[in-house]
């Protein structure tokens, strides 16, 4: 077991706890940077898809995992980012300008949606965001001369300095850079007063308010930031799928995104990334699984959503802390070996909250 000796307040603020942490994360980054020299293009494509999902996952994690606001409409923000970026590209706006513009637009729309959603909590908020996602989907279908309607349109493949930047290797590095940026921004936010206010709203609105947190402002901000991250992921997602059509951003995608943060582990950035790896590799796993299932089951079109739903239920029942929670348990098991006690992670009794002023 490692012990941390703290001699400086900065140790609680820094991103890495100590040299050991710095070494392992450094190694991970080095491996990911070196990956294109070893892996085939197919795998690079898969990994960049996971990177994109991770960015979106971090966005949703900030809203759902940290601020406690459930959203079933994040596919819409992904769609707004993707469409805005692709349309701007078609209008001749440079790649590296259109991305921030699409991101900011998503964030603004997030704030606009967040405002009326303030009075709603829990399942009502989920329904409201779901309705919002349907509205956006309808807009994408009906606003034909801009979005191309049902048929959609192909995303431009821009070149910067003569390099087709959405080809496998350059795109891999772009998504990797984007993910690093997103993780840094999220971690910075979480270690500053705004991130603390988000967590406070999640755990006790009434206490947060009496400590000076403006609930309306911070919930709107959480929505806006989350939408911004998701839209940012959407711009890259557009290139990943190559062709934009409204049915790419339907309710199933929203549920997949929510599945990602719940399965990964609510309330941690690690969880968002673990969830993205899981959701990113699930279609592959299901494809492999199809080979071993009887034909009558394997041909069912509902197999994939069905398995998603089943996994979500199993995680909520048996591992509410998600993959990240399981990872922490495994880590503790080995660091305490052979003294690990199962009860360490038993859910504690919570004291009654009778008189909550909501």
């Amino acid at each position: 077991m490692r012990f941390f000796f703290k001699t400086d307040y900065n140790q609680d603020i820094n991103l890495f706890r100590d040299g050991v942490d710095r070494f392992w994360y450094g190694l991970l980054i080095a491996v990911l940077v070196a990956a294109p020299f070893v892996l085939e293009d197919f795998w690079l494509g898969e990994i960049s898809y996971v990177f994109i999902l991770s960015i979106v996952g971090i966005g949703l994690m900030l809203l759902t995992g940290y601020t406690g606001q459930v959203s079933l409409g994040h596919a819409a923000f992904l769609g707004i980012g993707a469409y805005t970026h692709a349309i701007l590209l078609n209008l001749g706006v440079p790649f590296f300008i259109s991305i921030p513009v699409a991101t900011v637009l998503s964030a603004i729309i997030g704030a606009v949606i967040g405002r009326p959603a303030l009075r709603l909590t829990g399942v009502y908020l989920a329904i409201a965001t779901l309705a919002f996602a349907f509205i956006i989907e309808q807009i994408l279908i009906r606003w034909e001369h801009v979005t191309g309607g049902f048929k959609g349109f192909a995303v431009d493949r821009p070149e910067v300095l003569g390099i087709a930047i959405v080809d496998d290797v350059p795109f891999y590095y772009i998504t990797f850079g984007a993910l690093v940026l997103a993780v840094l921004a999220a971690l910075n936010l979480l270690r500053s007063p705004t991130g603390r206010a988000f967590v406070a709203i999640r755990d006790s609105e009434i206490a947060a308010q009496s400590m000076g947190v403006n609930l309306a402002a911070y919930k709107t901000l959480a929505f806006s930031i989350s939408a911004g991250f998701t839209g940012f992921g959407g711009t890259l997602f557009a290139h990943k799928i190559g062709y934009l059509a409204p049915d790419a951003f339907n309710i199933l995608l929203s549920i997949q995104l929510l599945l990602m943060v719940v399965v990964g582990g609510l309330g941690s950035i690690h969880g968002a990334i673990f969830g993205a790896i899981f959701v990113g590799s699930l279609p592959q796993l299901i494809a492999i699984l199809r080979d071993y299932l009887p034909d009558s089951v394997a041909r069912q079109p509902g197999l994939e959503p069905g398995i998603f739903g089943l996994i979500l239920v199993f995680f909520i029942l048996f591992e509410p802390l998600g993959i990240y929670g399981r990872w922490l348990k495994v880590k503790l098991y080995f660091s305490l070996f052979p003294l690990y006690k199962k009860a360490t992670f038993k859910r504690q009794k919570t004291y009654t909250k009778s008189e909550r002023n909501r």
């Binding site: 307040y9 900065n10 609680d12 603020i13 921004a185 910075n188 936010l189 270690r191 500053s192 007063p193 705004t194 991130g195 603390r196 206010a197 967590v199 406070a200 999640r202 755990d203 006790s204 009434i206 206490a207 947060a208 308010q209 009496s210 400590m211 000076g212 947190v213 403006n214 609930l215 901000l221 930031i225 309330g267 504690q348 919570t350 004291y351 009654t352 909250k353 009778s354 008189e355 909550r356 002023n357």
Partner: protein, 252 residues
């Protein structure tokens, strides 16, 4: 000098007059206690002061300023902090995190600087941390600094909540039943801390309390409520011997 003043405060929930024409003054540097049987309206008075409820009528003033219309999230910045009867901590966060949130009213910097975590943000975080450490030192919470609230015993949670309120650097501290659920020893500690909060930190305390031992030990003035009305106001001894108060508690 009067720090806080409630003038003819009243609130109705439907036909129920939860608080009905309550007036009192809290002098600077006092420990002022509100007592009364269950449902007398004590916590409602607190919720009115922290602006969670809007009073039906009456005026609240703090340092001579009318705070009846101030938004609930601006109360902390004015210098009024509170604890809750049913502990309201951020359970899935560490003690340190909870206490740092107590510094929210004193935060600085905008969202962009926080996303980049500029050196100015770090400097402010370090300054907040130092303030928090003083409070940790004051209430002997060193041992729990990195513990998650869900893993804390009840008694420790009470102290953390008090600590969080102190982190806002209040001028007026509202304590809603600081000793409820604590054992005798912890209640004695609480009495010492309330003394120290007043004498060392110079913070005025307004509290709701049932434990008459604690009330007698620390209070300068006591207000007895029943059915939302004032029964008696005075020193602890005066209020306790007041016939109306005895009648409210013992019946008759």
């Amino acid at each position: 000098m009067t720090l806080f003043k409630a003038d003819n405060l009243a609130i109705n929930f439907g036909g129920i007059k939860a608080v009905d024409g309550v007036s009192f003054d809290v002098e600077k540097g006092q420990v002022f206690t509100i007592i009364g049987p269950n449902g007398a309206g004590k916590t409602t008075v607190f919720n009115l002061i922290s602006r969670i409820y809007d009073p039906t009528s009456g005026v609240l003033s703090f340092e001579g300023q009318d705070i009846t219309q101030v938004a609930p999230d601006k109360i902390a910045a004015l210098g009024i902090a509170r604890t809750f009867q049913n502990i309201e901590l951020f359970e899935h966060a560490t003690v340190l995190h909870n206490l740092l949130l107590g510094r929210h009213a004193h935060r600085g910097g905008n969202i962009a600087s926080q996303l980049m975590f500029l050196p100015s943000v770090r400097r402010m975080e370090l300054a907040h941390r130092e303030k928090v450490e003083h409070v940790i030192d004051f209430l002997d919470l060193q041992h729990y600094r990195d513990t998650y609230i869900v893993n804390l015993p009840y008694g420790a949670r009470k102290v953390v909540e008090l600590a969080r309120a102190l982190c806002t650097e209040p001028k007026l501290l509202l304590l809603d039943e600081p000793s409820s659920g604590l054992n005798t020893e912890e209640t004695e500690d609480m009495a010492f801390w309330i003394h120290d909060i007043r004498n060392e930190l110079g913070i005025t305390v307004l509290m709701v309390e049932h434990d008459m031992g604690l009330v007698n030990e620390v209070s300068d003035r006591v207000l007895a409520l029943n059915y939302g009305r004032v029964l008696a106001l005075g020193t602890p001894a005066e209020v306790q011997s007041h016939p109306e108060v005895i009648k409210a508690y013992l019946g008759g």
